[in-house]
């Protein structure tokens, strides 16, 4: 098992390298000059030239990439062109926010999606199944930004139950933190719940056709035990993999949702950074997200093995 994890981590290195090269080149392909974007209305040629030199933007692209990699290897991710803040510090500020939002979204997704999926599978082709499908389809089709604004108007403006936007850290004020992240997590969670529900349903249906389920029923086990201990346990495998991947995606930040609810997480950071051509920030965040995604993938695979005894032998 340890060897397996070690191997996977080694494979991650070239992946990260490719990701960083890809993002670096994509950014350079974007029209628009970071220094001009920074300068805005104050375009003093002397200062522009100084800043270009300072951030080495006059050097060939390959050199620029080289400097960046060399610095990253020494733990220096550079500074934001826009605010002069070190990128690592920015990531340190935003990552906890994004993780909190991702975790809460996953909870919503699980609580809504999995039971609905089980129910839809057990009551296949009944009203319950159809309703669950309609709900899932709506969850997938309703755009996040629309649902977000509607929720703000209803819950914050009309009812005054929750703050419309903003964020507070869990460590400063846990209650306020929950209040501010509740709606955005719900919005993100509903969309994920739909995906989870569809996958749970099909996984359950697949397992329910298996011989061992018929055997379990033939043994006279109660339906409850058959569904939860035998069917669901086996259907859990693809759900766990999927969840880990969805969580990885959430770590990239939820651009629209964060924008609507003004949550200072990765999504907002990266959007602002792209608009300002803040190269160092974009690079840093993408690298961090890629690491997160690779880790989640690895965790998914490890969990898969832990949950499925048949796989253990193959390691």
């Amino acid at each position: 098992m340890h060897i397996y994890i070690g191997k996977r981590l080694l494979v991650a290195i070239p992946t990260l390298l490719i990701v960083s090269i890809f993002v670096f080149s994509l950014q350079k392909l974007l029209p628009g000059d970071p220094i001009l974007a920074m300068a805005g209305e104050e375009r003093d040629p002397q200062v522009i030239e100084f800043l270009r030199e300072k951030y080495r933007l006059n050097d060939p692209v390959v050199y620029q990439y080289g400097y960046w990699v060399a610095n990253v290897l020494q733990g220096d991710f550079g500074v934001s062109l826009r605010t002069n803040q070190p990128v690592l510090e920015l990531i340190g500020e935003k990552l906890p926010v994004t993780i909190q939002l991702a975790l809460m979204s996953m909870i919503f997704a699980f609580v809504i999606g999995v039971p609905m999926g089980i129910l839809a599978a057990v009551r296949k082709n009944t009203v319950i199944d159809y309703v669950a499908n309609i709900v899932a389809l709506s969850g997938l089709s309703i755009p996040n930004f629309w649902l977000g604004i509607m929720l703000i108007l209803l819950v914050s403006v009309k009812l005054g139950w929750l703050p419309a936007s903003g964020y507070e850290s869990v460590f400063v004020d846990p209650l306020r933190s929950l209040e501010t992240t509740f709606m955005p997590a719900f919005v993100l969670g509903t969309a994920l719940a739909a995906t989870l529900m569809r996958h749970t349903r099909s996984a359950m249906l697949g397992v329910m056709k298996a011989d061992y389920i018929r055997t379990a029923r033939a043994k006279g086990l109660s339906e409850r035990v058959v569904i939860l201990s035998h069917t669901f346990r086996n259907a859990l495998l693809p759900i766990v993999t999927l969840s880990a991947l969805l969580f990885g995606e959430l770590l990239a930040g939820a651009v629209l949702t964060e924008q609507i609810f003004t949550i200072p997480g990765f999504g907002k950071l990266i959007v602002d950074a792209v608009f300002n051509r803040d190269y160092a920030v974009v690079q840093g965040v993408v690298l961090c997200t890629a690491v997160g995604f690779i880790l989640m993938n690895l965790i998914a695979d490890v969990l898969y093995v832990l949950l499925n005894p048949r796989m253990r032998a193959s390691l």
Partner: protein
Amino acid sequence: MKILSRLSTMLLASALLVTPAVAAELRIGLQDDADVLDPAQSRTFVGRIVYTAMCDKLVDVSPDLKIVPQLATEWAWSADGKELTMKLREGVKFHDESPFNAAAVVATIERNMTLPESRRKSELSSVEKVEATSDYEVKFTLKAPDVTLLAQLSDRAGMIVSPTAAAELGANFGTKPVCAGPFKFVERVQQDRIVLEKFEDYWDKDKVFIDKVTYLPIPDTTVRLANLRSGELDMIERLAATDATSVKQDSSLTYADVVNIGYMALFVNIANGPLADNPLGKDKRLRQAFSLAIDREALNQVVYEGTAVGGNQPFPPNSPWFNKDLPVPARDLEKAKALVKEAGFERVPVEMQIPNNPVAAQMMQIVQAMVAEAGFDVSLKTTEFATLLSEQTAGNYQLSRSDWSGRVDPDGNLHQFVTCKGGINDTKYCNPDVDALLNQARASTDEAVRKQKYDAAGKILDEDLPVIYLGHQSWIWAFKKDVTGFVPSPDGMIRLLGVKKG
């Protein structure tokens, strides 16, 4: 009797104890997040809003755009216009309790002129040297007469920072800014909030009624308004014009607007690279036709719900610098068609690049339809802002829509855009007569002379039209009914002196 008087004393005492206990906190929603909080390096508009509360300047600007005293109490120009002497306010302290004096002013101005990262260099480019002539008097010596310096000193270039803090933090001053304004810096969380609190030793503290100010960047206008309505915020800036009516009808909110000092405009590529070779760039009759085909009042009504004003000059019609001999033209389709014909065209193809925000897009689609009737086939090229800016600078455009936030001195709205070597002259229009007039206007300390020069230059520009002015938006604020004392200012700043809550 004794009991009665004792009782009344106790009542009075308890009343006194109870009343002032509530700290007034003002939460203000901004459209963007500020950049570096260092007046020398900053460049965002919202950054300036924060400074208005945090950093006092040598001089300020009144709502009618006059230069008024702030840290400097009085000033005088020498006869040749090359020396500006300022008397400074005594008894002023910075937030770190160090004293404000002539040495601090000299240190700050020199920092603005020499710090490699400083964005204030061009604003202070006319300054030869600045020196302390006594403890509370400074003298600016200029390379050439430049009356616009006063207006520069009314903004970031004139924000005096604590020399101790500036020396200690250098280019990182923005992490912990120390100024001499009514509120001092407490904390900042990127893209989330900037918190300031009342500075107890402020020189004009009797006018400060707010204990704490929090600025929250909320880019989405709908969400910003929702936050105001739900009570999360006390005030928001840049309300969308489309929400103006609903705010005015809301009994819990107050609406305020004022026409701003900037402008919306179309820049025509006159001589900036090969793309200048297009009918509109080559023939001023076509530019005149284009301008005449636009119904500016209709744009104001449809896109801005009547909150903007149409314009044809770099100054709004209510500005003292507006040339009344050149009134905003009404739409004249016949004349526009005649001009197109005179130029030898049936249809004129033209590509216009526009920023990708919904309001600008809507406005330019209407313009596209309006000028089509006069014979212009406009194709719209929607571009994200950073790209638009660099394309415009590089000359990769025929017609480009971009706006200017405006400067207090008329020079700032004109000189750098239309003089041959102007720093932001993206059209590369070059006319020695215009250059001469604008340079003379810059050098004179006599307002009447300046006005005459701007009028003369404006007349030429109105004929040549390198820049087709479309109009002037309003700054719109909305705030809770219990917020009082706010005076809207055409520069869009939020001045908190005299503002009360509750």
